[in-house]
Amino acid sequence: MADSMRTIFDLGRPGRAANAQVPPAESVEDLPAEMLRDDPPALPEVSELQAVRHYTNLSRANYSIDNQFYPLGSCTMKYNPRGAHRAAGARGFLERHPLAPEPLSQGFLACMHDLQEILQDVVGMPAVSLTPMAGAQGEFAGVAMIRAYHEARGDAARSEILVPQGAHGTNPATAAMCGYTVREVAVARDGDVDIGALEAAVGPATAGLMTTNPSTCGVFERRISEVARIVHDAGGLLYYDGANLNALLGKVKPGDMGFDVLHVNLHKTFATPHGGGGPGSGPVGAAERLADYLPGPVVGRGEEGYRWVEPPSSIGRLSAFMGNAGILIRALAYALMLGREGMHRVGEFATLNANYLARRLREAGFDLAYPDRRASHEFIVTLAAQNRRYGVTAMDFAKRLLDYGMHAPTTYFPLIVPECLLIEPTETESREEVDAFVNAMARILAEAATDAEVVKTAPHTLPLRRLDDVKAARELDLRWRAGTPSP
């Protein structure tokens, strides 16, 4: 293992190459010499076997869904069907140029059109654009649409976006990118938005409100219709952050809750692979009054087949082409495999697993952040008591879980619950996996009581022990340089 942790640069030697990958040298004499580079870039010089072995071994230093339970809250780490991956790997899809003429693209366009219609059905909105390349870009599109809508109506004084406390960081960051000021709205002790606080915050400056439902607190926002009414009455619009749609799939359509615009994280609810940090995909859906503002291009259907269309008042493009097309194919394949019945069950079993896990953890001595509420597809455990009692933190628990062969839940999010773990088992995990997690948590709790040090210094069974984030930020080392001592 030590060996694989050397960098690829350490393995290189001048003049070594993966020759079967190197096309024959050709001259570029017509290019002016002053435009050419003098020194070749110091890319690694390794054999094909060295590259394959190095990256194969590196991969093994990761935890992943394919290897273990991965209950990372808010991220919906469910099984990524290999069949969907295969579908996107068809030659006709992989080799299609993004700007290929429409007559040569009818297969792809038909897929995109189908997916638009499926998503419209799922979210309960009349129009969808598939181009945003992740949730955050979907948020950007949605808020930009809200802004374009107000501006088109000459309602230009609206300068604020409301977000409930504990919203995901992308919400305020998006609002800022769209030129809005962010105003936080308090969350009540039961996890729902504090209606009084909302009423106090809302006003003529309100452009809109961004929220998820189930909220980042892991509970269903029960007064969502009231929230919608208050915001709408003030002239604002409602943005639905679809990161948590998995909980409601087949149960509630965001369009029916009063939302005007939303995104769906296909890499969550539609099971496309997370890829070690992406790619994702965040299609936006819009209610009637916002549909014309959708980012382009979208796929229309005419007499002569499918074609690209720019929505009439589109906010414009968000990417050079049309977003993460290959991810969209995977999502379509997943949707087709699930079908109507499958979609209903996703929400049900995600919710069943979460409530079961919450109940069992509670029985094992853990505190739920919202003990009187149903869990949605996820829920929050607060380790504040354990922290006081044993000095262990949520992060310590997280690290120690790694020793038990499980990925940790999300830590310290949402920010409003101290020492929290946001736990999302997803519907594709078996009851046995969920039980194993409870057992691990219970054992760590026992360790915290008897031998807190083992928890505080975890992990112990991985190739590396706990890493020093402070040093990383203080003594920035962001790239390999010849002579760096290797691991």
Partner: protein
């Protein structure tokens, strides 16, 4: 129940443990008025076999003949090893490496990627990807505006001049994304020769905060980046370079554009070259795949690293002093900085970074150089084979605008009927170039394919 492992017995026992009679009860906090699970479009679930058949049939419809279209997406050979490795479950089904100790694979790989991209561009640091080249240019522009906060003349102005021959779709995405932040985008026009006149900068009404230059430019031409970089720095603008990473195996890295020595933020310390380098990583082992997923990258100087959007991996040590890797500088990111973050980007394009890193390792400096040279040689061959005049003189790389003597759109449509993806008709992007066809040949294109193209073209033009 595809992908759901629960047996009836599981469900019964789990419900009993929770203390509810049925699954429906778990949704009892949802006001019934909101309950509406009925689907109208979504049909019955299909087995994988059926889904693969249906989508496979559609994919087959789109299998075309040879592709001579570039314009930001290139039909390079992708070594088989690239996706065999990137497709491993450990890379594909992990997420953002929040738990560093359980994510050393992804983290070390990104660190290696950062190094490789820094080497290619000549910059000090690189981020772990943004979405794509288009949105990445927008992020680079926003970064430049943040970095040059006081504006070119210390007047706080937020004007960004983008070369008129930059990728029009990148510019479109940039306009969409920066629009609401009080940034004015002006065009740095290109001349009749398809390149930006070095004096164009001084003809702008006021010096810009940043200048965006693309090399090779959208027409495939090698532009006056040396002079333009120096001039931009002289007026206090930062230079954002938009590049094709494969071209950098041959071409001078943006870090060395110009001679340096100018004033302003960009010229601080007399540093030479671009301040920020961005682009799309698709040419590095990523299939065209209708344009995505690919990935964007942004590289910059050490002094601007805190303005760099997206994730960054740093090397550090564990409790025993062993080297390891972790996400760093997170204080710039949205989950901590929230409304003040460098960007709202969260999920980025990690798997494509994985592929690109493996690709660059397999190719190495010699391999990448040869790919770049082969692309260029094939394009020269194509231009000779098609026997059409060029729209612009002067050196070009890998892409070229040809004058087809009639609306190029017609040619593209007619060749599509013959299964050839002929290139990009420029009319809808540059009305003055309605007869212009932007063509490109990668190292994959054969003489036989070029003859087929030439012959189909001759048929269309004579018929």
């Amino acid at each position: 129940m595809p992908f759901i492992p629960h047996t009836d017995a599981d469900v019964a026992e789990m419900l009993a443990a929770i203390g509810v009679p049925d699954v429906e009860s778990l949704f009892d906090e949802i006001p019934s008025a909101l309950r509406s699970g009925e689907f109208t479009t979504v049909g019955d679930g299909l087995p994988e076999m059926e889904v693969l058949r249906r989508l496979g049939d559609r994919a087959r419809r789109d299998e075309t003949g040879p592709c001579f279209l570039g314009a930001g997406s290139y039909d390079h050979h992708v070594p088989a090893a690239v996706w065999d490795i990137a497709g491993r479950g450990e890379f594909m089904t992990a997420y953002t490496p929040y738990q560093a100790e359980a994510s050393q694979g992804t983290l070390q790989l990104i660190y290696e990627f950062q190094t490789m991209m820094s080497e290619l561009t000549g910059m000090d640091v690189c981020n772990a990807s943004v979405y794509d080249g288009g949105s990445g240019l927008a992020e680079a522009v926003l970064m430049a505006v943040r970095a040059n906060r006081r504006g070119a003349r210390g007047d706080g102005s937020r004007v960004v001049a983008i070369a008129g021959n930059a990728h029009p779709l990148y510019v479109a995405a940039t306009r969409t994304i920066v629009r609401n932040q009080g940034i004015e985008i002006v065009t740095l026009p290109h001349g009749e020769d398809g390149r930006v006149d070095p004096d164009a900068l001084s003809r702008l009404p006021a010096p810009p905060t940043a200048v965006v230059l693309q090399q090779p430019n959208f027409f495939g031409l090698l532009d006056n980046v040396d002079t333009l970089t120096d001039r931009a720095h002289e007026v206090g603008a930062l230079v954002v370079a938009c590049v094709n990473p494969v071209s950098l195996a041959l071409l001078k890295p943006p870090s060395l554009w110009g001679k340096g020595g100018g004033g302003g933020e960009g010229g601080k310390g007399g540093e030479r070259g671009a301040d920020i380098v961005c682009g799309d990583g698709q040419p590095l082992g990523v299939p065209m795949a209708s344009g995505g997923p690919s990935f964007g990258f942004i590289c910059t100087r050490q002094r601007l690293v805190r303005q760099l959007p997206g994730r960054i991996v740093g090397r550090t040590e564990d409790l025993d002093g062993r080297p390891g890797f972790t996400l760093t500088l997170q204080a710039r990111e949205q989950h901590i900085r929230r409304a003040k973050a460098t960007s709202n980007i969260c999920t980025n394009q990690g798997l494509l970074v994985t592929a690109a890193t493996v690709y660059m390792s397999l190719l190495g400096p010699a391999g990448l150089r040869n790919v770049a040279a082969a692309c260029h040689a094939r394009t020269l061959e194509l231009v000779r084979a098609l026997e059409l005049p060029r729209c612009f003189e002067g050196p070009f790389f890998h892409e070229c605008v040809l004058d087809v003597g009639r609306p190029a759109e017609e040619i593209v449509t007619a060749l599509a009927e013959r299964g050839v993806v002929a290139g990009l008709a420029l009319g809808s992007y540059f009305p003055e170039l309605a007869h212009g066809l932007l063509v490109c040949a990668t190292e994959k294109r054969t003489g036989e394919e070029m003859r087929r193209f030439a012959q189909a073209l001759a048929e269309v033009r004579n018929g």
